[in-house]
């Protein structure tokens, strides 16, 4: 199977508490994610900087990497960070990521032990995808999957490499307007509504109309496997 290059999503977890790092690492591994943990925002940026630079080298021809560690296939698909950290807070880190042209596409999730609505709103406004209240549970992690993003999709059937921002939005754009224009605007507003601290909420993909899921199933594509969806996005035309 030629899916080896896209086997697992890689999450970067940032927390100054060693216990919480151990916990989030275990939670993420149990949910089948690859994990890297760091104890500060600055170390997170360092790591992300390394990733991005190696990605650029990945596409260039025969320029040897100037970095000693050869992170060949390292790519961060999501950053999950604690809010309260000494020095650079999670909010500061979020801002830096969103302000960086190379990093801003990486989805960021904030965790906090304190339920402060103004704090939550501030983070969401700054571009955080989700806000988790600590202690984080396994069930919370199901909300991560819809946000996972891959920067490049390599489809052997397709000569060109497609750069996709978000497979879900792309799929909606591909679809015939009559069926999907409604769901597109609806999912936008649902994106706002979804960003609340309601722990019981369904994952984002379920908020989309069942239209999409139905037509996906008609094509024989399972809506459960994001991987499959990503492969076909931009290429498949919804019939």
């Amino acid at each position: 199977m030629g899916m080896a290059a896209e086997s697992q999503f890689h999450v970067l977890a940032v927390d100054d508490s060693i216990i919480d790092r151990k916990l989030i690492e275990r939670l993420l591994k149990t949910s089948s994610y690859q994990v890297t943990t760091v104890d500060s925002g600055s170390k997170a940026l360092e790591f992300l900087g390394l990733c991005e630079n190696d990605q650029n080298h990945h596409t260039s021809t025969n320029i040897p990497s100037v970095f000693p560690n050869n992170h060949q296939d390292v790519e961060v698909n999501l950053v999950i960070t604690d809010y309260c950290m000494p020095g650079m807070t999670g909010y500061d880190l979020l801002k830096k990521i969103k302000e960086s042209s190379s990093l801003r596409n990486i989805p960021v999730v904030i965790m906090s032990s304190e339920n402060v609505p103004s704090r939550i709103n501030r983070c969401l406004e700054e571009g955080a995808e989700e806000f988790f209240l600590k202690p984080v549970r396994l069930s919370d992690l199901s909300r991560l999957k819809p946000h996972m993003k891959k920067n490049k999709v390599k489809d052997p059937r397709n000569e060109t490499e497609e750069k996709i921002e978000n497979s879900e939005i792309l799929l909606q754009q591909e679809a015939p307007k009559s069926q999907y224009s409604h769901s597109e605007s609806e999912s936008q507003s649902q994106l706002q509504a979804h960003s609340t601290i309601d722990q019981q909420q369904q994952p984002l993909q379920q908020n989309n109309n069942n239209n999409k899921r139905k037509s996906m199933e008609q094509q024989g594509l399972s809506s459960e496997t994001d991987r499959t969806r990503q492969r076909y996005s931009g290429i498949a035309t919804v019939v």
């Binding site: 508490s17 216990i19 151990k22 916990l23 275990r26 939670l27 032990s113 600590k134 202690p135």
Partner: protein
């Protein structure tokens, strides 16, 4: 009968756990920890709890030496320690310890030194109790694993 001992110990363990939940010493976050333990990470709970003990003892020492200072005034520093303590305690499901830390923090925010001292006493006592009970739990679990192991020779 082989394995009989293991079953009894299993019952002991559950009884202790139920007791600790009933007393509010532990909450369901502790159950979450147990759920994260499996064959790929068989000692997860004890690993996390041991880290917690290590960190907590450092924090308690810091808190006590702060409050014992003659000219103590650094409530902010105390609150930083307390926030850490609250975070780690709630992460492992140590409900009573967390509550006392929160009350402790409230006293600190009011610059109430007497209140802080009282809270520290309670915290040390409660932490001791928690540590003993968790050690007991791990002991039973170890014994049970051994007893169960006898039934299935490798």
């Amino acid at each position: 009968m082989l394995g009989f001992g293991a079953d009894l110990l299993w019952a002991d363990m559950n009884r202790l756990l139920a007791f600790l939940f009933h007393q509010g010493v532990l909450d369901e976050q502790f159950l979450q920890l147990q759920q994260l333990q499996d064959h790929t990470s068989p000692n997860f709970v004890s690993e996390v709890v041991n880290i917690y003990f290590h960190e907590s003892e450092k924090l308690l020492t810091n808190l006590r030496s702060l409050l014992m200072e003659r000219e103590f005034s650094d409530y902010k520093k105390m609150e930083i320690h307390l926030n850490q303590f609250i975070g780690s305690s709630s992460s492992i499901g140590a409900k009573r310890v967390t509550s006392i830390c929160i009350a402790f923090r409230a006293a600190s925010e009011q610059d109430n030194r007497t209140g802080c001292l009282r809270a520290l006493e309670m915290l040390e006592h409660e932490y001791c109790y928690l540590k003993n009970k968790l050690h007991e739990l791990f002991q039973i679990e170890q014994q049970r694993a051994l007893a169960a192991g006898v039934r299935y020779p490798v």
